[in-house]
Symmetry: C2
Subunit: 304 residues, 2 copies
């Protein structure tokens, strides 16, 4: 008997956004562009280069416009940003972005702290965002944060997630991400949610976004793959965290995810050697040892 896993998965590199947004070190635009280029050279075909959100709330992303304009775009690569309102959409259009990811939280408390509006109000405001994006030839994806639990509220009822899914579908947004913002998801829950929601909403293309806060990031991906999900977010060197989710940290590391996938004979299109070079460079730039199992093994091997 063997585990029933997909033949391949698609990884979106979110390090430049979810990774760097939380670092105390502010990288230069040139360094950000260089990391994005390295990620693409290592195999990334979807990359979240930053966000167009409140500059005051997330100052590390204030230069996303400039990053976008300085990049030399490569054919076949999707350059994506996270946005939360119409102002973000306008900046996206000016920066020539391919795809915007509209983010809403399933938890009221998290939504109020993060975006200053209830989830219902956020979704209502997304109507004009989607219209603007379509009028300017930008693709639209949706992301539901705290989908598996909230740092403030604890459990988040699946009903709240369903309600947001339906609101997105009403706007004809069918590419949706379920984000474990607080790093509280577990493999049973992931498998249950994915099998249930895939059956209920067959038109949706699902992405899973995990943080490794409690060491379950890769086990959660395994559960997602067993449920047939093929899109995952990951961040170089395992950077990450949400400024509005206490205790949350570390997206799953792209290199750890690619290593697991290779071991499982699941194709990713990434070059692991290049990812490790990228991961080391990220650690140099942020000036700290990040949560990456493969980079940890490398360091240990070098000191022996």
């Amino acid at each position: 008997m063997t585990l029933n896993l997909p033949r391949g998965i698609v990884i979106c590199e979110v390090g430049p956004r979810d990774g760097l947004q939380n670092e105390s070190v502010q990288l230069s635009v040139a360094d950000k562009v260089a990391l994005i280029d390295m990620a693409i050279a290592a195999g990334a075909r979807r990359i979240e280069i930053g966000s167009f959100v409140s500059v005051k709330a997330v100052p590390s992303m204030a230069d996303t416009d400039e990053v976008a304009l300085r990049l030399s775009r490569r054919e076949g690569v999707e350059y994506r940003v996270l946005v939360a309102n119409l102002a973000g959409l306008k900046r996206s259009e000016a920066a020539g972005i391919d795809k915007v990811k509209l983010t809403v939280s399933a938890s009221e408390t998290h939504a109020l702290k993060n975006l200053g509006r209830t989830p219902a109000k956020v979704m209502q405001d997304f109507a004009e965002c989607v219209a603007f994006a379509r009028a300017h030839n930008m693709a639209v994806a949706g992301a539901i944060s705290t989908a598996f639990g909230c740092p403030y509220e604890g459990q988040v009822a699946l009903e709240k997630v369903r309600s947001l899914i339906e609101s997105f579908l009403a706007l004809d947004v069918t590419e949706l991400s379920l984000s474990d913002t607080a790093g509280v998801a577990n493999p049973r829950q992931v498998y249950d949610y994915c099998t249930t929601l895939q059956a209920e909403y067959p038109a949706v293309q699902w992405t899973l976004h995990f943080h490794d806060t409690r060491g379950l990031g890769l086990a959660n991906v395994l559960a997602g793959m067993l449920a047939g999900v093929v899109h995952y977010d990951a961040a170089f060197a395992g950077l990450g965290g949400c400024p509005f989710a206490p205790g949350a940290t570390g997206n799953i590391a792209t290199e750890d995810l690619v290593h697991m996938a290779e071991a499982l004979q699941v194709e990713t299109g990434f070059d692991l050697t290049k990812l490790l070079v990228l991961g080391r460079r990220v650690q140099e730039l942020v000036g700290r040892i990040t949560d990456s199992a493969l980079l940890r093994v490398e360091r240990r091997d070098e000191t022996q």
Copy 2:
């Protein structure tokens, strides 16, 4: 749909042996005894308190005799040691040990470096060890290290593992551990091996022993549980490593495993709060931050 997981798992705490054997700090007998008592108070009903192996090769375990004699034994707890030859058996008997774990490596190179003998010779020598154990009312378990791969040889053919299983069964040893000494196992391999070997050797009670070297420890446990295996080794605070396996480090942390199991609604009989107190005490005693996701979350929460 839901994942098909066992109702409960049994965790053997191997921190006092596989954990402490590799630390540069030598703990006192009193500290070792105190940690063992804390582990039992936290729920451990199987505990590997040390090893009776070459004192020269593994000096940190030289005081296992004394640790065993100083412990106040508790009813219902199995006190186990790792042994490799008849000298170890004699020390076990003198120390009043319940169960000995006879360890052999599936890899020739690892066996030669670790025990100075080929796997076949080790198994041959085990005959008198088993006879001695039985004559002195000690239970016997077997452990096959590098079962999923070797730090020197790379892949280890399943045929070599089978050969050792059959040698153990010929000695009527039916409790067997498959150890991922080098931290190279992956969930697909774990699931394949477990389903295959369980079908081929239905009389065996299997234990899985994983290191989290490449971040796959908990994903491997998930795969083992999906295959129906219910016995796992883990070490407090995620201590661990093998002196003869370069780059290997960190057993899966008991607290991380118990946390995952609780999230999955799989019973363990452990008290997570007590395990966290134990893990912090271990980190104090060894004087370093070990690889434990839950202890990392706690530290971060405290500094916020």
